[in-house]
């Protein structure tokens, strides 16, 4: 056991602790233990090991006796908070085309901006991308900050970081959102460090605290086993990344117009030490897994690599993407880029069809927020059925081809 650090704000209230051990069982970090104590009601007292404690608060929630108290530390704001106004969305583009996650963020961004009574802006960086600004306005942006340069055609960490850092310093937004893509995650982390501000990854809910006018950022942790609401009270901008399909795309309103604010920066800020020497596209199906509305996934129950043929056929008819469980990838039946789950991709399509997937917690972590889950498995006890909207206990080699045939008829393919 170690002493309580000076800025640590969690403690056990000896008088309330009953020694029930619920907190010991709950703590994800094993930071709480029970000791014999004469002062405690029932002779046992919970003790927090502050070296292990991350102040996640899970124990506070679990305690039925209000014996654990966690207070938010009062730290003086690091910046003049009132100077920061407006909600921004990073308008990620690839090959000059704005990515769909941006329109999802603009939908949510509009709500947040309206709740704060402020404006919504998009940050568009690239080469000859001005034409994309129009749709950003249609989707709810009031302003587009546009930075164009031949060297900015493809995303690179350093110039993109430098530009956004400069824009933030000049125009001071209070909120800045990014898609939780391979680009957004790399970029936002670098920007957070440069600006000394907070960043919350993979938010599944964003709201405004009406009283304090700050952003409430909710995200899953421990593979979705717990949810945490995170604040960035004293630093600006409040930054978050959000995965594909978490929010609904903003509707198109072609009557909407906005203002383009063009900025340019000196060459030293546009320089990149890394260089992209080749780009290879290799996803075997044409649909990007994280963006797909429908995913058909195969697991160990397929029994063989050839089993993915029936999966692919159904995916093709439905216009969806092909996913896989870790065991199917480990068996080398399909490349890793198709893996769904904790060590693969996190997806939330409208329909997820799990074929021959038992549903290990690490797989569920990657797909359990899908709108409709269909499970097809021989084993009626498979955990996948506990999350499935529709469960079919049966042979996937009978069910899946029949389903493919059925949808060929329905969709007249």
């Amino acid at each position: 056991m170690t002493d309580k650090p000076k800025d640590c704000s969690i403690q056990i209230i000896t008088g309330n602790c009953t020694g029930c051990t619920m907190c010991v069982k709950t703590c994800p970090f094993g930071a709480i233990s029970m000791v014999d104590s004469a002062e405690a009601k029932k002779g046992k007292l919970a003790v927090i090991d502050y070296m292990k404690c991350t102040l996640c608060g899970a124990c506070v929630e679990s305690c039925k006796f209000k014996a654990i108290e966690m207070t938010v530390c009062k730290v003086a704001p690091k910046v003049a908070l009132g100077d920061y106004k407006g909600v921004w969305v990073f308008a990620e583009q690839k090959k000059g085309k704005v990515q769909s996650v941006v329109y999802e963020l603009l939908g949510k961004g509009r709500e947040l901006a309206d709740a704060l009574g402020t404006e919504l802006a998009a940050v568009l960086i690239g080469d000859a991308v001005e034409a994309q600004a129009e749709e950003l306005f249609w989707r709810g942006a009031d302003k587009v900050y546009l930075v164009e340069n031949a060297g900015l055609k493809s995303y690179q960490d350093e110039p993109y970081t430098n530009i956004i850092v400069e824009l933030v310093k000049e125009f001071k937004p209070e909120i800045l959102l990014y898609g939780a893509t391979s680009i957004g995650r790399s970029l936002a982390s670098r920007i957070a460090v440069k600006l000394y501000t907070g960043l919350t990854a993979d938010c599944t809910a964003l709201d405004i605290d009406k009283e304090k006018k700050i952003l409430l950022q909710t995200r899953p942790a421990f593979g979705g086993n717990i949810m945490a609401t995170i604040l960035c009270e004293n630093y600006r901008p409040q930054m978050a990344t959000v995965r594909h399909k978490v929010f609904k795309e903003a509707q198109v309103d072609k009557s909407r117009k906005g203002q383009v604010v063009k900025k340019s920066y000196p060459d030293n800020l546009l320089a990149s030490r890394t260089r992209i020497s080749d780009v290879v596209e290799e996803i075997s199906s044409t649909v990007n897994l994280t963006e797909a509305d429908i995913i058909v996934s195969g697991g160990r129950g397929l029994g063989k690599a050839e089993g993915f043929k029936v999966i692919e056929e159904l995916a093709k008819v439905l216009g969806g993407a092909v996913g896989a469980s870790r065991s199917a990838v480990d068996a080398e039946w399909i490349p890793y880029s198709h893996q769904v789950g904790q060590t693969g991709k996190t997806v939330c399509p409208k329909i997820y069809i799990a074929c021959g997937i038992s549903g290990q917690i690490q797989h569920l972590a990657g797909m359990s927020s899908s709108e409709i889950i269909i499970a097809i498995n021989k084993d009626s006890q498979a955990p996948i059925f506990s999350v499935a909207t529709y469960g079919i206990v049966g042979d996937l080699y009978e069910v899946v081809p029949a389903l493919t045939q059925k949808f060929k008829e329905i969709l007249k393919k």
Binding site: P5, D7, C8, K25, T26, P28, M51, K52, T54, L55, A58, E61, C73, K78, D157, E158, T161, S182, I183, S189, R190, A192, V193, G198, L199, A201, L216, P220, F222, G223, G224, N225, I226, M227, T229, L231, C232, R273, T274, S277, D278, V279, E282, I283, E291, Y336, T343, G344, K350, I351, I361, E371, I372, S386, A388, Y390, I392, V399, L403, L411
Partner: protein, 268 residues
């Protein structure tokens, strides 16, 4: 060449179960493991060492955490890492990703000259993927995230394949740089007997806040821009309908239930 691998000790989330009565996490029997993505980072460092020659390359594993995290470092040494450094101080407690990146970067600076820093793509307890790029930004060095292959590496220069949503990019970078690696990059080796003996005999160098040139206001909870306001268990997703009967009947029932969604999706 000096390679630093940053690792984290995490609870094995595959062991985590939810208590159905209280709807809370059950920690009993949950093992601490080396974050799985960090295993690929350790393995990649060892492969680069083998490629460049063992005599000229040193692999140091670094972790920030409680004293128990030394177990995780030992595992890396048993696989073949040369040295281990544990950053442990109660001043680091409650760090968010900003403060963690800052602290690890300061620890790395303390270790002296380095050429390559390798991190796993993310840790499985927090899943943020922010600390790797955060370290790179603090040290002001280039980064290549989601690396799936080391194509080439030599003094001062390297070439990596970076996984993207569509495939991959080949990225050339000067050294020093930081990379984060994905599962596809390699298959981590098992510890050797010799390694295990070495790990048993080794001791981690321990660094605390006093050993670092840091701004104490930027450490731990106090230095963290974000704070957890509340933790809650998500509403449990419950199983729905189990469709029964002959295959054609089941398929018809299912098709009727999801047909509208499928048709609406196919139109967009």
């Amino acid at each position: 060449m000096n390679i630093i691998v940053c690792i984290k000790q995490v609870p094995d989330t595959q062991d985590i179960r939810i208590n159905p009565e209280t709807n809370t996490l059950m920690r009993e029997g949950v093992q601490s493991i080396v974050n799985p993505f960090d295993m690929y980072a350790i393995e990649e460092a060892l492969r680069i060492k083998e490629r460049l020659g063992a005599a000229s390359t040193k692999v140091t594993v670094l972790s920030m955490g409680p004293s128990q995290a030394e177990e995780a470092l030992r595992e890396a040494v048993s696989m073949g890492a040369d040295e281990m450094v544990l950053m442990s101080d109660r001043a680091f407690a409650g760090s968010d990703t900003w403060a963690t990146s800052y602290t690890l970067a300061k620890g790395i600076q303390k270790l002296g000259k380095f050429d390559l820093i390798i991190c796993g793509k993310q840790a499985i307890d927090g899943d943020t993927a922010q600390v790797g790029p955060g370290i790179a930004a603090t040290l002001d060095i280039p980064q290549v995230t989601y690396v799936k292959k080391t194509e080439d590496i030599k003094e001062g220069l390297a070439k990596f394949e970076r996984m993207t949503e569509e495939g991959y990019e080949v990225i050339e970078t000067p050294l020093p740089c930081l990379i984060t690696v994905v599962k596809e990059i390699n298959i981590p080796r098992l510890p050797s007997l010799k390694g295990k003996i070495k790990a048993k005999q080794s001791k981690a160098t321990v660094l605390g806040a006093k050993d670092l040139e840091v701004d104490p206001d930027r450490l731990g909870l106090q230095g963290s821009p974000t704070a957890v306001k509340k933790i809650f268990t998500p509403p449990k997703r419950t199983g729905g309908q189990v469709l029964q009967g002959e295959v054609p009947d089941i398929v018809n029932k299912l098709a009727d239930s999801i047909k509208d969604v499928v048709i609406s999706v196919s139109k967009t």
